[in-house]
């Protein structure tokens, strides 16, 4: 509704959306990548968005972009600090929780977005395997060490999309 913002959104083709809670140990990987990306020179047309803890509001954010890169921590059964890049279709959620305001399943929001015909053309998820998700304001050493690789993977995806 803000004209300047609308123009920006029209111009921006890629959104990098970081997800996570920096008060919950390794769940803060997303916010840490957000801070790191702020220091990187990015090509025009890329918005870096701190998506906070996600939630249904993400539905209203991702609809504005043809390409979205989500950065989150995810338990994919890997070694702590291991980084994987995947698309939503490659995985299925093992979460058993029902929807709540704060801890809903990111994959469900993406599925909902696809179902209502609003989803970005491409969605990539850059994820790190956490070691510890519990109240703490620091990342574990292994996840902290994985941050440069996460940033590199995000930049690689941006390069692929902009070339």
């Amino acid at each position: 509704m803000n004209p300047e913002k609308d123009e920006l959104h029209e111009a921006a083709a890629i959104a990098v959306i970081t997800i996570g809670n920096e008060l919950m140990g390794d769940d803060g990987a997303g916010p840490a990548v957000f801070e790191a990306l702020r220091k990187e020179p990015l090509p025009p047309g890329v918005d870096v968005i701190d998506g906070g803890t996600g939630g249904m509001s993400l539905l209203h954010v991702i609809k504005d972009y043809p390409h979205v890169i989500l950065v989150d921590c995810a338990d994919f059964g890997g070694n702590p600090g291991e980084v994987k890049v995947f698309v939503p279709e490659e995985v299925r959620s093992l979460k058993e929780i029902e929807y709540s305001l704060h801890q809903l399943d990111l994959l469900e929001v993406i599925a909902l977005s696809q179902r209502i015909g609003e989803a970005p053309r491409t969605i990539h998820i850059v994820a790190v395997q956490p070691e510890r998700i519990e109240p703490a304001t620091t990342l574990t050493r292994k996840v902290s060490a994985a941050l440069p690789l996460m940033v590199k993977e995000v930049l690689k995806q941006i390069m692929k999309m902009t070339q």
Binding site: M1, N2, G52, M56, S57, L59, H60, I97, E98, Y99, S100, L101, H102, Q103, L104, E108, A111, L112, R115, I116
Partner: protein
Amino acid sequence: MSEIAIKVDHLTRVEGHGNIILNAKNGAIEKVQWQVTEAPRMFESFVRGRHYHQVSHVMSRICGICSIGHALCSLKATEAAMSVTISEQTELLRKVALHAENMQSHILHVGYLVAPDLFRKGSVFPLIETHPDAVLKIIALHRLANEMSDLLCGRTTHPITLMVGGFTSTPSERELSSLRDRLSNILPVCDEVNQLLLDNVHMLPDFTRETEYIGLTSDTEYALYDGVIGSTDTGTHPVEDYESIANEYVVPYSTAKFASHARESYMVGALARFNLNAEKLTSGARAWAQKFGLSPISYNPFMNNVAQLIEYYHSVEDSIALIDTILNKGLKNETPSYAVKAGRGVGAVEVPRGILFHDYTYNDKGFCTRANCVIPTNQNHKNINLDLEALAPTLLGLAEKEIELNLEMLVRAYDPCISCSTHYLTVEFT
């Protein structure tokens, strides 16, 4: 639990974890209890020693859903402490901002959290397969409310434009006019969503228990931003008397404070507001109340869900009227002017879940020396417990799953700002 010492000066808990405990043996209830197990959050301590211009920004972090309401209540308390008067334009714009939050929160609750109960689904996501049209409409209502918050407050959550005495920036006339059109266009969608709830309202249990309802009330409007304290039992009271209304106390089984006034418990929220102020609703909202057969005083807590949708309608219609007034008067570029001074002030605002109080004391340099907040959800905890005690015995003939669902639906009806409760709820049977 017993190791957690709750002190009166510490802030209430508004997010977190709650449990329902039900023990029944041989058809008799031994124990039924709503427990809140969240740790104290210390916000009142956070703002001590902080300069007044920071306080509303810190306090808005109490909640990610009611952040506009917390910011406005905080600003009102600070303005009361320093005798700051605001312009008519600021008041009108703040009212629109509060409507945005009310709409955002109510549709999120009814659309995403309650609707799955009505359709016997585990969450909103499977609903897209069975009721795609309904989900699309709910998303449209949520989206408009979010964008309205963006426009008035600078972003969807944790407002940045609201400040002591006014706004750091206001929307342009063109933006307000465009918002007005969008609000006007959303009314038919509201009608359809309301009709959907009406078609399924029989799924809400027919349960009543008399209690006291408390909320802001006003002679001139459906009180949300301003008014005096109203009680269905005792009439009206000045906002400054809030401590003798809430009478907060602690219980051993909950880390959240409880509250009581004329009776053992009272209820705040959309149903309380409706019970106190129904005749002040906009015409469209009143018409929907009639269709739902809702009239004051309704003692069915499950009707809080219905009252929320009626309030969504009211917020849309009233926002249109407020924007018309702002545009007719012409949007002015205003700069707040006031002097910092020592004093104590109490602010009260109706946030989606009920009446909210902030109370600050400042020194002559504008630094906060004392703070106290009374949050809606905590005012409801005792009422939830008593409702559970009354409802549970009526359910014992049902299958365990149905008992569990009914108890969960009751707690959800209050829309407690222990929002994660939709999955953190656990029900134990012994």
